[in-house]
Amino acid sequence: MTVFAVTLGALGVLVALFWLLFGSPATETPAPLDARDTEEFLPVNCRYFPQIRQMLETEDHQFMRRRVPRHIEVEWRRERRGILGQYLSGLGQDFGRLERLARLIARLSPEIRRAQEWEWMWLGIRFRLLYRIVELKIALGSSSADDIARLTDPIAGLAAELESRMSLIAECAPSHLHADFGG
């Protein structure tokens, strides 16, 4: 049993090593940074929330239940869940962008705080766990547009603040901003 576990462990270590060393999304791109690159780091999906909310609220839930046949209502719910799911996925991407920016700032800072870094790491882990749970909730049809709104506001607020800072960071390390956060 021990031998089997150790063999599996060694194989796991080798796979992990290979992935950590060669599976990196980082590819050197010597071209200078331009406006499109800085935009890659800023949250974008949360900006479209008003349109999404409008679209989701135009159809009244009660109205659908009373006036349309059952199979159409089921289809409507399915599509609505699909839209919410896609939007949640976009918010996850926004979170990822913010997180990558936080790491970039840490990487380019001469002094960083350990407690701060651990907190960011913990927030990232927790967000991903919660994200999966909410995704499941949407799939089961028990989440509303208001829920997504609560998720969106903080990212949108931060986006505006960061936009003003990006030019400063870009000036400091253009080539670093470019390459290392491909995924």
């Binding site: 021990t2 031998v3 150790v6 063999t7 462990g9 060694a10 270590v13 080798l14 992990a16 090593l17 290979f18 950590l20 060393l21 990196s24 980082a26 050197e28 979170f95 913010l98 990558r100 936080a102 790491r103 700032i105 840490a106 990487r107 380019l108 800072s109 001469p110 002094e111 960083i112 705080r113 350990r114 701060q116 870094e117 907190e119 960011w120 790491m121 927030l123 990232g124 927790r126 967000f127 919660l130 994200y131 749970i133 909410v134 909730k137 989440s143 829920d147 998720l151 903080p154 990212i155 607020g157 931060l158 603040e161 800072r165 400063l168 960071i169 400091c172 390459a179 290392d180 956060f181």
Partner: protein
């Protein structure tokens, strides 16, 4: 004459061939390293390659004059082996430093963690080996397994930091790190097998696996050092000192808020 020498040393023709090929590879890689400027960039790695060649010569001399089955040969082999494992640990630290030290903040965060984890793992390996009541060969194997485990753990720990912060890994460093990690991971498994089934038949397999895995690691290093090492990149321009302190609280606040919202949606 060669056969006579081999008989006196206690080595079979196959073992001798394997040893000769391994030694030649080690010598070739040392030459490559010196020719391609590794001494300047990775002095500990180059010194380790030199130590490898020196230890092969020392072992060959001991085995030839005393015989492979003597107690002196056993001690000589494991002493040089301990030196090589410790050198590999230093090389792993050097690789992590080469990757992370250009980023002052991350390196200050990472370095104490790497050193502490390495010392704790190595200390626990030695302590576990000392407590064992098995024959000296089993104790030595377990100590070596623990040290190899410490080496590969520290390497993976450092690489996780690189991955997390998006630090780019140069191709030659990646191959060197792969060689170090590959050999250590195989030895951890290999020594566990032999520790479990300590028989002569298994010893032959253990020895063959050990030599083969080391030869594979040296091939990785040949790939790393085949071409001259790339020119040193200029150090990255860092942000002003106060910028992190200004940005961090805002980002933390938003990320925390986002998590809270997500938590509310879940409830």
């Amino acid at each position: 004459m060669v056969q006579c020498t081999l008989v006196r040393m206690g080595l079979s023709l196959f073992q001798s061939m394997q040893w000769a090929i391994g030694s030649l590879l080690e010598a070739a890689i040392l030459v490559l390293a010196l020719r391609n400027g590794a001494l300047r960039r990775l002095p500990f790695f180059t010194a380790y390659l030199g130590l490898l060649v020196a230890s092969e010569i020392a072992r060959w001399l001991v085995f030839q004059y005393v015989g492979i089955n003597s107690r002196f040969s056993f001690d000589a082999y494991w002493t040089t082996q301990a030196l090589l494992v410790l050198s590999r640990a230093v090389v792993v630290y050097e690789v992590c430093r080469a990757l992370l030290s250009p980023y002052a903040g991350i390196w200050k965060l990472c370095r104490p963690l790497l050193i502490t984890s390495g010392l704790v793992l190595a200390g626990s390996a030695v302590a576990t080996a000392r407590r064992r009541v098995h024959p000296i060969s089993a104790t030595t194997l377990m100590a070596e397994r623990g040290l190899e485990f410490a080496v590969v753990s520290v390497l993976i720990f450092g690489l996780i930091f690189c991955r997390y912060y998006g630090v780019r890994i140069d191709r030659y460093l990646a191959w060197i790190a792969l060689g170090l990690g590959f050999y250590s991971a195989i030895q951890v498994a290999n020594n566990t097998f032999l520790g479990t089934w300590l028989t002569h038949a298994h010893f032959t397999i253990w020895e063959a696996l050990r030599n083969a895995s080391f030869n594979v690691a040296t091939i990785f290093w040949v790939v790393a050092l085949w071409k001259p090492l790339p020119a040193m990149k200029p150090a990255p321009v860092l942000l002003a000192r106060g910028e992190y302190d200004r940005l961090a609280p805002q980002m933390t606040l938003r990320l925390r808020e986002l998590n809270t919202r997500l938590l509310e949606m879940w409830k």
